[in-house]
């Protein structure tokens, strides 16, 4: 049950993108930094990546869901809670516990993970443009949920020895919710989201079976 129309959804994105300008540039800079650190990992890079992802999830929970989306959607406060929870989990796993390292490897999870990160940064906006949802109506990486979730799923596929399953839960839930938007709100570019979710969960499970 979606309480707003596609027209209103995209109008809200215009308002949001104008209101947070130029935070989109900062988000992209952080995304590129994560990409570089993932390809050239160091002793501290996983913690930095975890902190950056946590910051982006926190932004999405508070700024996007709580402040901008909640007035038109009664479910948004719940979404905000889940995004804030994911931010805390990312901090816990990558910054405090440090029980997984993030680094690119030339295996199926690694190549898929890197691809998803590039799709979130470049492919998704191109698809949005094709679907006539570009410009101010864009869901921009880092400050809007869908590309941020796709990117995060990509990062988690680079985690070694394996992705913490607890970090997969919220992104996968959003893959389902966001996937519904393809049909219910008319956002064809969001079809990337459930595809990313299915790929990520299968590769992580395959990875864990291989290590068992």
């Amino acid at each position: 049950m979606i309480p707003f129309s596609p027209e209103v959804f995209f109008a809200l994105f215009e308002e949001y993108n104008l209101a947070i300008w130029p935070a989109q540039f900062a988000a992209y800079a952080l995304g590129l930094l994560v990409l570089i650190l993932a390809v050239r990992p160091s002793r501290v890079s996983s913690g930095v990546i975890g902190a950056i992802l946590a910051a982006l999830w926190m932004w999405n929970g508070v700024a996007y869901h709580w402040f901008f989306f909640a007035p038109i959607n009664f479910s948004a406060p719940v979404f905000a809670g889940f995004f804030i929870l994911q931010a805390l989990l990312l901090l816990w796993k990558f910054v405090i516990q440090r029980d997984a390292m993030i680094g690119f490897r030339r295996d199926a999870p690694g190549i898929t993970g890197l691809t998803l990160m590039i799709v979130a940064l470049a492919g998704y906006p191109l698809l949005a443009n094709v679907a006539d949802h570009g410009g101010l109506q864009s869901a921009v990486f880092g400050v809007a949920p869908t590309p941020t979730v796709i990117f995060t799923l990509g990062v988690l596929l680079l985690a070694r020895p394996r992705a913490p399953l607890v970090l997969m839960i919220v992104p996968l839930l959003w893959s389902v919710i966001g996937g519904l938007a393809v049909w219910l709100v008319g956002i064809p570019e969001d079809v990337v989201l459930p595809v990313a979710g299915v790929l990520a969960v299968n590769l992580v499970l395959w990875q864990r079976r291989g290590q068992a």
Binding site: P3, F4, L12, E15, P71
Partner: protein
């Protein structure tokens, strides 16, 4: 082009029958044998609220989705034109809810810019749990609409209804609201709604009824008539699905006998011609669709035989 609208969402039997007789529409109710005519002239499609006798237009306006436009000035101005058309064509009831995002805020925005809204019948809902939160929510609603009192306050989807009913009874006695109602939609919780209708002092009930979803004819509508409850019908177009189903088909030639020139009037006339129905609340974000909806207030209504014919036609499509 397919029409896509969205909708959001009592009388004693004596009062219902009285009202119908006043409009010469007893045949519509199926309470008198149908005569040679298949339609009954309805000089004015106003309906009386049984508990108070106040008359309201049989077509109102819902705000689910359509008025939830957020802060956009452009979209608010577009909705202002829709609401202006509603009042220009004799509109009365506007139905909203705190559940509908910014809809109440947008209704208030529009009402503050419309001058001929004297016929407004303000209807909203309480949709929360606990007495304190309910009171706070209803006060917020009044602020958003820019009103001191509501004509109708409904308990949305029966949520914590026993708690809110105590508050609403007290508020009605003190003049803060004029009528009490309770709602459901999508055919849910009919048994619970019937219990409330049979045992509690409510003035209005609201539920879903349309030409394909007719379960309400079995128990809800007869009970409302027996108990003297006004009836608001939500989803008369099944949130636009009925247009998707029927728009590619022509209206039957005999639709002209009841003054129908488009599917909107065909579907709405079916709903409001049920004798127990007080008001239907189609929602729209378009001025041309609002004109079609409100035009339904003019012309004859189908009688019982014609209603059966209407059902037969749509089920054959």
């Amino acid at each position: 082009m397919n029409r896509k609208d969205w909708t959001d969402q009592g009388p004693t039997r004596r009062a219902v029958l009285g009202g119908m007789a006043a409009t010469g529409a007893l045949t519509v109710a199926g309470l008198l044998p149908p005569g040679p005519r298949t339609a009954v002239a309805a000089p004015s499609l106003m309906r009386a609220i049984p508990s108070t006798g106040q008359k309201i237009p049989a077509i109102g306006m819902g705000t689910w989705i359509t008025f939830n436009v957020g802060p956009s000035r452009k979209l608010r101005e577009a909705r202002l034109k829709v609401l202006q058309t509603f009042f220009d064509m004799g509109g009365g009831m506007i139905d909203s809810s705190p559940m509908y995002g910014t809809s109440e805020d947008v209704v208030g925005y529009c009402l503050s810019r419309i001058e001929n809204d004297q016929t407004l019948f303000s209807a909203t809902k309480v949709w929360t749990v606990s007495e304190a939160m309910g009171k706070r929510q209803m006060k917020t609603s009044a602020e958003l609409w820019g009103l001191k009192t509501f004509d109708l306050m409904q308990i949305h989807n029966l949520l914590d209804w026993e708690t809110h009913l105590r508050t609403l009874k007290s508020w009605k006695e003190r003049g803060r609201i004029r009528h009490i109602g309770i709602t459901t939609s999508h055919g849910r919780r009919h048994d619970d709604l019937l219990d409330v209708m049979r045992s509690q002092p409510v003035d209005f009930v609201q539920f879903t009824y349309n030409i394909l979803d007719r379960e309400a004819e079995n128990r809800l509508l007869p009970t409302a008539a027996d108990r003297g409850l006004a009836v608001i019908i939500n989803r008369p177009f099944r949130r636009g699905d009925l247009f998707s189903k029927f728009d590619r088909h022509p209206l039957p030639q005999w639709a002209g006998e009841i003054g129908c020139t488009n599917w909107a009037s065909f579907l709405l006339k079916f709903v409001i011609s049920h004798p127990a129905v007080t008001c239907a609340i189609p929602a729209t974000s378009r001025v041309d669709h609002m004109r079609e909806n409100m035009a339904t207030l003019k012309g004859p209504l189908p009688d019982a035989a014609m209603r059966r014919r209407m059902v037969g036609y749509v089920e054959s499509l």
